[in-house]
Amino acid sequence: MRTLHLKTSIVGISVAVGLAGVLAACGTTAPTAAPSGTSGSAQLSGTVTVFAAASLKATFTQLAKDFEAKNPGTKVALSFAGSSDLVTQISQGAPADVFASADTKNMTKLADAKLVEGTATNFATNVLEIAVPPSNPASISSLADLAKPGVKVVTCASQVPCGAATDTVEKASGVSLTPVSEESSVTDVLGKVTSGEADAGLVYVTDVKGAGDNVKGIPFPESDRAVNIYPIATVGTSKNKELAAAFIAAVTSEAGSQVLSDAGFGAP
């Protein structure tokens, strides 16, 4: 990842010049549009506000840092929440330039509200994985194990994307789960597993990776029956569409894809 980063920045400016640019940018206040460009190395500037699904927190924080380093004078403001919350906020006039959703459904919702510029680009995928406490008290090794009597399984409720994926997997595999709790978010499911209250939970691969040593992940072959697609798009009301497009290009670039795949995301 680091080598890739270096490779791409060789094209650009030296570190010293870059730093000077960042310092200079600190002085400017208004997020004015980029001085519309001489082609090639167009000088981007201003702030791009990115609304991204909660599951993208770690990766987008990294991508934003890389973007700012590569484009001195720019600033990436990040806001993370559930995709449907973000759609509601943008529809109510929140000043977002870029929207990255954890499912196509919420992107469609925003497009239906005529708030998407052009078409959305799919940039990552995510699949479910079984998360168990590190000691794996119920000795889970497959999806079928979750249906055993006495095993306390926590899943997402059908109303949220991870719950919809769980339903699909259940149907496709013929395993029917009787969860002790159906949570409203992946974070809540993960919390029940890390605290040891639940024997197992169904979350995304990336959540298991993000939780580090607090949980153990158990991949299962049936997970490929429910692949979640992550689209990204410029928000129609954006005041800095050039910068928004540049950020989206960075996310979908080779370097961006590498950051995402390091975190467990699949290719679109």
Binding site: V154, Q159, S181, E182, E183, S184, S195, E197
Partner: protein, 270 residues
Amino acid sequence: MNRQSTSGYHGIPRWVYAVAAVGGLLVVLPLVAMVAKVNWPQFIPLITSESSVAALGLSLRTSAASTILCIVLGVPLALVLARGEFPGQRLLRSFVLLPLVLPPVVGGIALLYTFGRQGLLGKSLELAGIQIAFSTTAVILAQTFVALPFLVVSLEGALRSAGNRYEAVAATLGARPTTVLRRVTLPLVLPGLASGAVLSFARSLGEFGATLTFAGSLEGVTRTLPLEIYLQRESDADAAVALSLVLVAVAVAVVGLSYGRRRNSAEVQA
């Protein structure tokens, strides 16, 4: 009745009314905005769906249970705090009031580490075959935790303002402490106890954070009305707004009942 107050002085500066109006609007306006968002043609189907009815029923049952638990545990606590004399009394009061200012999520985490499977008491309870996590009992515990201070504060206030003259008389007439408590003290503070109980019920009904963290969310078992609203909001904003209105209506009824009761009793005493 307001006008015949004891002092007779009512020189409130006019600007105070203006600021008070702003304060009132801050509370009322969001409620009005919510009512304006209600999808009225769909209102009845939305609030009578199977999951909505299950959530409302669970909320009412658990709130009733936690109110009873609040009375059982809160009356002795209030008595001890108002009438007792022992070292650490002020400290105890501070701790009892803590859930009032504690973020509910924090309460949920604390309960989890007490009654959860890996918790302080949870391990022993599990050995005894009692499992609290993910059960309706967990919901009631969470609600009692957040609602208990309301009962204690109301009742302690009532006990202090009632004074203990009647009790002293009863005692000199030879009544035992338990008899005094039952026949004199409790009837005296009954209005305070009632309004405290109603407030506890209302607080239990609105409990969200501790329940979500500690009890989980399963239809008919742990998914109370606030949790159902939180979940519906993800997929069906209309249903979330409709259910919110139901919760507001119940809360208004409950608080109105409590306030009316207090006013009436004040009039009787005046």
